[in-house]
């Protein structure tokens, strides 16, 4: 659906975005991650037509932003980092204005009623935007992005500034919207990306350093398995030495257990070797009770930190 080809954006001599290319398939939900200043908002602003790229091409369904910007922009709903609200308007007037500039074909009243209900803004529809709380303003920004029901939604940190219950509401709304829209979402809350997105694009210093599903990234990044073991407190290092003798185990770190009277072990093993069954056998043979044995999954946070750090080091 969206095709971004070799986009570069220069500010003076500095490249904010450096030759990036990716595509979004119809109906997909893609997370756009990166540390502050990585170029995420710049990329989103280029895709939405707010700023022009120095080089490169962006198109939606083969309509290029340079050739036919009006048709191109009709396909996008954009929620920037700061919701672009005219504070002297009421919510209803604001959405009517958005309907007019987006030149939607549907009856404005029906459209506004539908969106207000969807984003749960019924209580404040007649209020001036300047009198709304941050959470409501964010939702009002969300509402304007949905006007005209554009097939592609570009959301720059949609849950920033919201309280936990509002975050849950917006996430559930995003999950509903996933059914009918393609979503391109930037967020610093990685659990949000994990929950909503099928794929992740990771940007650092203006370059794409990863573009894959979370599972594939975990697999690529995993140079070993991490296992957590919980046994009864023993007061010696016998368990640790037994584990370290098992072929394939690379390291074993012993810590005081989360539960009282327990001992936790974080075991790293080589990727190609399944050691959990051997650990069980060895410990049972030595009459050591096992209270818990589980694989520790690498989180998106781990992948994010690892990739951004290694990419940063590579460029130094």
């Amino acid at each position: 659906m969206l095709k971004v080809e070799h986009i570069t954006k220069k500010y003076g001599n500095k490249k904010a975005v450096d030759d990036i290319s990716f595509t979004l398939e119809k109906g997909s939900a893609v997370g756009f991650l990166g540390p502050n200043g990585a170029g995420k908002s710049t990329t989103m602003n280029i895709i939405t037509g707010y700023i022009a790229a120095t080089e490169g091409k962006v198109s939606i369904d083969d309509i290029s932003i340079d050739d036919d910007p009006i048709s191109y922009k009709k396909k996008i709903g954009y929620l920037p980092e700061i919701p672009p609200l005219y504070l002297d308007m009421t919510l209803e007037d604001y959405l009517r204005f958005i309907c007019a500039i987006k030149k939607i074909d549907r009856n404005y009243r029906e459209e506004i009623d539908g969106i207000i209900e969807m984003v749960r803004l019924e209580k404040v529809r007649g209020r001036l935007l300047k009198n709304l709380s941050k959470g409501y303003r964010q939702r009002a920004g969300f509402a304007q992005a949905l006007v005209g029901r554009p097939p592609l939604l570009i959301l720059d940190e949609p849950t920033i500034g919201l309280d936990p219950s509002q975050i849950v509401e917006i996430r559930s709304l995003l999950n509903e919207l996933k059914e009918d829209h393609t979503i391109f979402l930037s967020s610093h809350i990685l659990s949000e990306v994990t929950e909503i997105c099928d794929r992740v694009i990771l940007l650092n210093e203006g370059k794409i350093i990863a573009n894959d599903t979370q599972e594939a990234l975990t697999k690529k990044q995993g140079d070993g398995n991490t296992i957590r073991l919980c046994t009864a407190w023993r007061g010696d290092e016998m368990v640790k030495s037994l584990i370290l003798d098992i072929p394939g185990v690379q390291s074993c770190n012993m810590t005081k257990g989360v539960e009282q009277g327990m001992m936790d072990y974080i075991i790293e093993s080589t990727e190609d070797q399944e050691v959990r069954n051997v650990i069980c056998s060895v410990l049972i043979a030595n009459s050591i009770s096992i209270y818990e044995l589980s694989t520790v999954k690498k989180s998106l946070e781990d992948i994010f930190i690892r990739l951004t750090n290694s990419s940063g080091e590579g460029t130094k």
Binding site: P84, I98, I101, K102
Partner: protein
């Protein structure tokens, strides 16, 4: 364009900017009418319109300063430039809105002219010339203000810069009398926006002067479109 025009008109009259402009404009023009025409028992409208154009030099920046500067500062320009609407339509919508606010103020001054007509003899062609002249001259001032607003995100800077540019043109107007170099005379004459208005105030309907103001407005509107496009 219509949508942007309506938004701007709403803004002027939901906030104080439109009312402030109209109030100051009408107080100043009303004062000059009272002193120069009513109290002096004069039917001469030329002087009245000459002071009006001088007043506009100070007042138009109040109307134009926020047009793009405020949008950029509050990031609401993100809505405009990511919507399926042409930049030219945005620029024209804003321009026409300011022109209409100015015309609203100007319309009230008909009452003064009618008063002169009722109490004395009215020089009809001079009045028509003055109105046509002031409308087109103000149109070019507004286009300049719109352009300046598009190059900064600070409203105060936009207002001061617009005022400085208009004041610069006014000074050029005065300098033209003291220059002898033929080339400089031609250049200064071309830049003498205020002097050209005197054709109209003398009741001379000069199409070239009209074309001059239209060209000037067109030039600054074009520069505004370029400035907004370049900023993208």
């Amino acid at each position: 364009m219509k949508t942007i025009f309506k938004k701007e008109m709403n803004h002027y009259f939901k906030n104080m900017a439109g009312y402030i402009f109209l109030a100051i404009f009408l107080v100043i023009t009303g004062y000059y009418f009272t002193v120069n025409n009513l109290l002096a028992q004069s039917n001469d409208v030329k002087e009245y319109f000459n002071t009006m154009i001088f007043t506009l030099m100070f007042l138009i920046p109040i109307l134009t300063m926020r047009l793009f500067a405020e949008e950029r500062k509050s990031k609401t320009d993100q809505v405009l430039f990511t919507s399926p609407i042409k930049i030219l339509d945005i620029v024209l919508g804003k321009y026409i809105a300011v022109c209409v606010v100015f015309l609203m103020g100007l319309a009230v001054t008909f009452a003064y002219v009618i008063t002169i007509g009722v109490l004395g003899e009215l020089e009809l062609f001079t009045v028509i010339g003055c109105y046509v002249g002031i409308i087109f001259a103000a149109g070019s001032f507004i286009a300049m203000g719109l352009f300046v607003s598009s190059i900064t995100e600070n409203q105060i800077v936009a207002a001061i810069l617009t005022y400085a540019i208009l004041l610069g043109f006014y000074v050029i107007n005065l300098l033209a009398d003291y220059v002898n170099n033929p080339l400089m005379v031609v250049i200064l004459d071309w830049l003498a926006i205020f002097r050209r208005f005197s054709d109209f105030s003398m009741g001379i309907f000069n199409p070239s002067t009209l074309l001059y103001y239209i060209s000037l407005s067109g030039l600054f509107l074009f520069l505004t479109v370029c400035s907004v496009t370049r900023k993208r």
